[in-house]
Subunit: 101 residues, 2 copies
DNA sequence: AATATATTTCTAGTAATATCGAAATATATT
DNA sequence: AATATATTTCGATATTACTAGAAATATATT
């Protein structure tokens, strides 16, 4: 993953409401969670919630799909695991002190 | 880890310069990397670099220790792994579709 | 004590983000 | 077609963050 994309994604996770949304989605699994369910469990005005969801969508961490009147949000696990990998990449590669281990 | 602390930490990682600093430190290992080395490899004005480092310090992702004239920055691996764990916690716990697997 | 090196603090201008009510859109039901 | 439900877009205000030059601080060397 490119540094810029990773930074953008972390920035979106770096807000307590959005992080809460995303964790709710991660727990919810691949079938997704309706916006309305997020709204009632997070207790945030609809316009604010919509704003935060669309930011998560804009960086690829969430996708939405409609079924009838309800709109589902699904976390993108590949992007999530990519971010996690990005943080640990080459961890300690340049560490001194145990060069022959 | 609390939601608020995790969000703050992600917010600090959500800036390309800071993410680059942090990754440099993660690769560098536990002995730390001098500020000056960061400055020359990232090519950013000292005052700007200092500002970003102090933000990483303020959320506990980095600590500094001085040796003579040079100040070393060390990544806090425990906080890093805590963040990673936080993102995956209860992953898919509420997923439907494979309840007996 | 004077000078050099390493890094931070101060300051201030500019830009980006957060919030939420009101109005708008999309779909379903009657 | 009228109404209800679900969600978004618009708009405006308030707060926070980014950047970097200049000055200040801390330590080392001569």
């Amino acid at each position: 993953m490119l540094l810029e994309s990773a930074a953008k994604r972390f920035a979106e996770l770096g807000h307590s409401t959005r992080l809460e949304i995303f964790r709710h989605l991660v727990r919810g699994g691949r079938q997704g969670v309706p916006v309305g369910e997020l709204q009632s469990s997070l207790d945030v005005p609809g316009s604010t919630l919509s704003h935060h969801i669309s930011r998560l969508v804009s960086v690829g961490l969430v996708v939405q799909h409609r079924e009838g009147r309800t709109l589902y949000c699904r976390p993108q696990y590949d992007e999530l695991f990519g971010l996690i990998e990005f943080l640990q990449e080459e961890c300690c590669a340049n560490e001194r002190g145990h060069p022959q281990e």
